[in-house]
């Protein structure tokens, strides 16, 4: 790494930090339960808008894994999500009516909250439709993983986004609050992911899956990035640069081995494609608050009329983490 480039990245990191500091004024605290947090608690950070239907299962899922405290930023919900979250005993809640896009899709808000509250904690940053799966997650709590990462001097843990979808039309099977969305959207693409190194930030850039296969068939370069680093032993100097795809300092993006070995990694099951997606897509298209001019929702809107089927003959049905590890989507690394 050249000294000049390293200095540039440092400046960039400072700029994101300053931006997060400025954006803190957009956040209004609704409930602050941060005094409950103990020194070694695992924290979860999440931005959401009108996702009330998903929240009950989401909170349960992560409570069971051993998350101790939740930080939510509510972006102008009108479906009762705000009141629902306010009454959860382990949630601290902020709300904002400002632009999601201008906070760089929530990154600025969360960067600020993380800087203020997450220093020294293992920190999970996910969306309400993302469910973390890590090696041995059926028998070991999240703390077993973070203790092991600590003992191995590892500061960040990657979990690739795996798009899950139902068999048949997306709107065929309605989702009800409290249900496991993976029971409906239980299929995924196992082996059509492309990857390339992003040399500036040393992260991998992973694309593919059903969205690339169906929505971005003709322009794969525009397909959404799937590489994510959601679990980080946070330090107040760190910032997320673009969603949870990459961080600064860039050493945190070095979650892959370059000499043939495998590091430990997990998967974020992405339960976006439920019956709720159609309405969501229409709303988001109107608001235009999503990444790259909501290109993804536009691509979907164009195809929604032709009865979109993400499922194909070679789709795999989700069983458990061992299946994902055998397929090579995640790895136990040297954790045994």
């Amino acid at each position: 790494m050249g000294a000049i480039q390293s200095y540039r990245l440092r400046l960039q990191r400072q700029r994101w930090r300053a931006r997060a500091f400025r954006k803190r004024r957009e956040l209004k605290c609704v409930v602050d339960r941060t005094d409950q947090i103990r020194a070694d608690d695992i924290l979860l950070f999440c931005t959401q808008r009108n996702e009330k239907i998903r929240l009950s299962y989401f909170l349960d899922y992560y409570r069971k894994q051993g998350v101790n405290h939740f930080f939510f930023v509510d972006n102008d919900s009108d479906d009762g999500a705000l009141d629902y979250l306010r009454n959860q005993p382990d949630v601290s809640l902020w709300s904002t009516r400002s632009s999601y896009r201008r906070s760089r899709f929530g990154v600025d808000w969360l960067n600020w909250l993380q800087r203020k509250y997450a220093h020294g904690h293992w920190t999970l940053t996910v969306d309400p439709d993302e469910f973390l799966v890590y090696p041995f997650c059926d028998t070991r709590p999240l703390r077993a993983l973070t203790d092991w990462l600590d003992a191995s001097s590892i500061k960040s843990f990657s979990a690739m986004l795996l798009d899950m979808y139902p068999k048949g039309r997306l709107d065929e099977q309605p989702y009800h609050s409290g249900e496991d969305p993976i029971e409906i959207a239980s299929w995924f693409d196992s082996g059509n992911y492309t990857m390339a190194r992003n040399h500036a930030f040393t992260n991998l850039w992973i694309q593919g899956g059903p969205r690339a296969r169906v929505f971005f068939e003709g322009e794969p370069a525009k397909a959404p990035a799937l590489n994510k680093v959601p679990l980080v032993k946070w330090d107040r100097k760190y910032v997320y640069v673009s969603s949870t795809h990459m961080l600064l300092p860039r050493g945190l993006n070095q979650v892959y081995d370059e000499w043939g070995g495998e590091k430990a990694s997990g998967v974020l099951l992405h339960a976006k494609f439920l019956d709720t997606f159609g309405a969501k897509a229409a709303e988001e298209l109107e608001r235009g608050q999503h990444y790259a001019g909501s290109v993804e929702y536009k691509a979907y809107a164009e195809q929604v009329k032709d009865n979109p089927q993400l499922w194909c003959k070679w789709s795999e049905k989700y069983i458990n983490w061992r299946q994902l590890e055998i397929l090579g989507l995640m790895s136990k690394g040297n954790w045994a």
Binding site: A144, D147, S158, M160, G191, Y256, L329
Partner: protein
């Protein structure tokens, strides 16, 4: 009356668990001497001592500051051992354990096991030349250098002092009569050996020396016990596995059955929150006496595999946490595959024929410009790999490695040619898993049989010849690692059975031992004249080899149908 075995326990975290284990030992009349790391705050320490106040035969030694890789741990072991030997005269064996060790078998089984071997010292101890598990490349040097800086806290200074000492060849001298030995720090020594080590008149000299050896807890007792012991059994009774960074593997609840079946006496290191393990092993009833020797084979294999996965990985897999640099892949692709160039042009039914003869999956032109021609005309393949050409060409290398990874266990064959996208050529050429068979110039056959204007044919032929010629340069380069076989078309049709047999043999899963039927060759009547016409137009087709003008009918109509026999 105490048991004939005592436990010296070194504790630094998870004091609650240490207390549980100490009570477990003490309940079987095993005396316990505990050393608590000096770094533990006094208040916590006092609480810990008070919690164990009701247990008889538990003592606390003088406290030292224990940092990994430094003398403190040896000092602590010495202090606890001395206190043990002085306070409990019945003790014959002293077992060194840590706070995160967990006894797996009933305590009396261990006591009996040791009582049957009253003179044996269980201490893993090997000469430095023979130990592969040193981390950081310091084996011999840990005895001959000075280590004034902490490896954990001042890594830079630590590395610097090592390299300076290497440069100026500074060496410490070993005290006379010592042969450096290393091994697991968890031992079980007899009173005789241990007291000899601790009461040696030379001990101040040895201590002075080992104080500046790196990681002395793995060498102090290992070296000195060799001086006095009459019967060293070089293995540790504590099951303790280390990963490639030299840190111990940790046991969790899901290892319960594995640990039970290991028949080891003590295991480390246990995750402090592994409630089921502690509950299971600390409440085990005194079952039927097992006289079995410890047998950690299965656990060994699991952890060895974990290390292998971390250092070598799965060949041919590219994923979020394995993305090897070029030439460091340890296998570019996951399995062997075959690429054929010119065969489906020359033979009418090559693909079904090859499938029948080998059982392999035979694709068409995977890298064709219009779309991916998967076998049987499928539009997606294993792993939901799309047949869209744009998607494939977005990253053709990943397309290939994905294809081979997704179809592990089934041999893949595909066609290639100068029409196809050529971006993948180097990748395949450098892949030892690739078996490439080329009939050069066969691309001219479809042109010959086409119904195009001759000027177009001439132009296309010139382009294809140039592309194929460049590809052949790649395949013949010294960097090529794949198995390459190239025939000119003229050579090939001279005797097609022999190369075909060779290819089938190489694929190796041939359904038929000997090739009885060759695929049907296209009618080449007039092909020589066709080439001559190209020449007459000033385009020189050379990749096919020499075709006499009148040659065509001889070789094409009469493909041998009789069984091919080699004596």
């Amino acid at each position: 009356m105490t048991a004939s075995m005592g436990v010296a326990m070194l504790v630094h975290t998870a004091l609650g668990r240490a207390e549980q284990v100490a009570r477990h030992w003490a309940a079987a009349d095993v005396p316990v001497v505990i050393h608590v790391d000096r770094n533990v705050p006094k208040k916590t320490y006092d609480g810990f001592v008070a919690a164990l106040a009701d247990v008889p035969n538990v003592l606390f030694s003088k406290r030292y500051r224990c940092e990994w890789g430094t003398w403190g741990i040896v000092a602590a072991s010495q202090a606890t051992s001395e206190l043990m030997l002085a306070s409990f005269p019945d003790v014959r064996h002293v077992y060194l354990a840590s706070g995160s060790c967990l006894p797996l078998r009933p305590v009396h089984e261990l006591i009996d096991y040791l009582a049957e071997r009253p003179r044996t010292d269980f201490i893993e101890s090997a000469t430095t030349a023979d130990v592969p598990w040193t981390v950081g490349g310091l084996d011999e040097e840990r005895f001959t250098m000075h280590f004034p800086f902490s490896w954990k806290r001042h890594r830079y200074l630590f590395d610097k002092t090592v390299s300076i000492q290497r440069a100026i060849k500074l060496k410490r001298r070993m005290p006379h009569g010592l042969v450096p030995h290393m091994g697991s720090q968890w031992w079980c020594l007899t009173r005789q050996t241990l007291s000899a080590v601790l009461q040696d008149p030379e001990r101040p000299k040895y201590d002075r020396y080992f104080r500046h050896v790196w990681i002395p807890d793995e060498s102090y007792f290992q070296t000195l016990s060799r001086l006095y012991s009459t019967n060293v059994e070089s293995r540790s009774l504590t099951l303790s596995k280390f990963d490639f960074q030299g840190k111990p593997h940790i046991f969790y609840d899901d290892h319960l059955q594995l640990l039970r079946r290991s028949d080891c006496f003590v295991a480390r290191k246990i995750w402090p929150y592994a409630d089921r393990l502690y509950e299971a092993f600390l409440t085990d009833a005194a079952g039927a006496m097992k006289k079995t020797e410890p047998n950690p084979g299965k656990i060994d294999r699991i952890f060895a595999k974990a290390v292998e996965r971390r250092t070598r990985g799965r060949s041919g897999l590219y994923m979020q946490s394995r993305f090897p640099n070029e030439d460091w892949e340890n296998g570019v692709t996951a399995a062997e595959y075959s690429m054929f160039q010119g065969f489906s042009e020359l033979f009418e039914n090559f693909e079904p024929w090859l499938h029948n003869a080998t059982g392999a999956r035979v694709h068409g032109h995977l890298f064709a410009p219009d779309r991916v021609h998967f076998a049987e005309g499928q539009t997606t393949l294993n792993g939901a790999l799309s047949d869209n050409a744009i998607q494939r060409d977005y990253n053709p290398e990943t397309f290939l490695t994905n294809l081979i990874w997704n179809t592990r266990g089934e041999r893949q064959c595909f066609q290639f040619g100068p029409h196809d996208t050529q971006e993948i050529n180097w990748r395949i050429a450098k892949d030892p898993n690739a078996q490439i068979s080329v009939i050069t110039g066969a691309w001219a056959v479809p042109l010959f049989r086409s119904n195009m204007d001759f000027t177009d044919i001439r132009r296309i032929a010139a382009t294809l010849q140039k592309i194929e010629s460049e590809h052949m340069d790649v395949l013949r380069s010294p960097y090529t690692k794949s198995r390459v076989r190239i025939w000119s078309m003229a050579d090939f049709i001279e005797a097609p059975m022999e190369p075909l047999q060779g290819i089938l043999d190489e694929i190796g899963q041939a359904r038929i031992r000997r090739l009885s039927e060759a695929p049907k060759m296209v009618d080449l009547h007039g092909f020589g004249q066709f080439l001559q016409n190209l020449k007459n137009q000033g385009m020189h087709p050379y990749l096919m080899g020499d075709f006499p003008v009148e040659r065509g009918p001889v070789s094409s109509t009469d493909v041998p149908r009789k069984p091919y026999l080699v004596k």
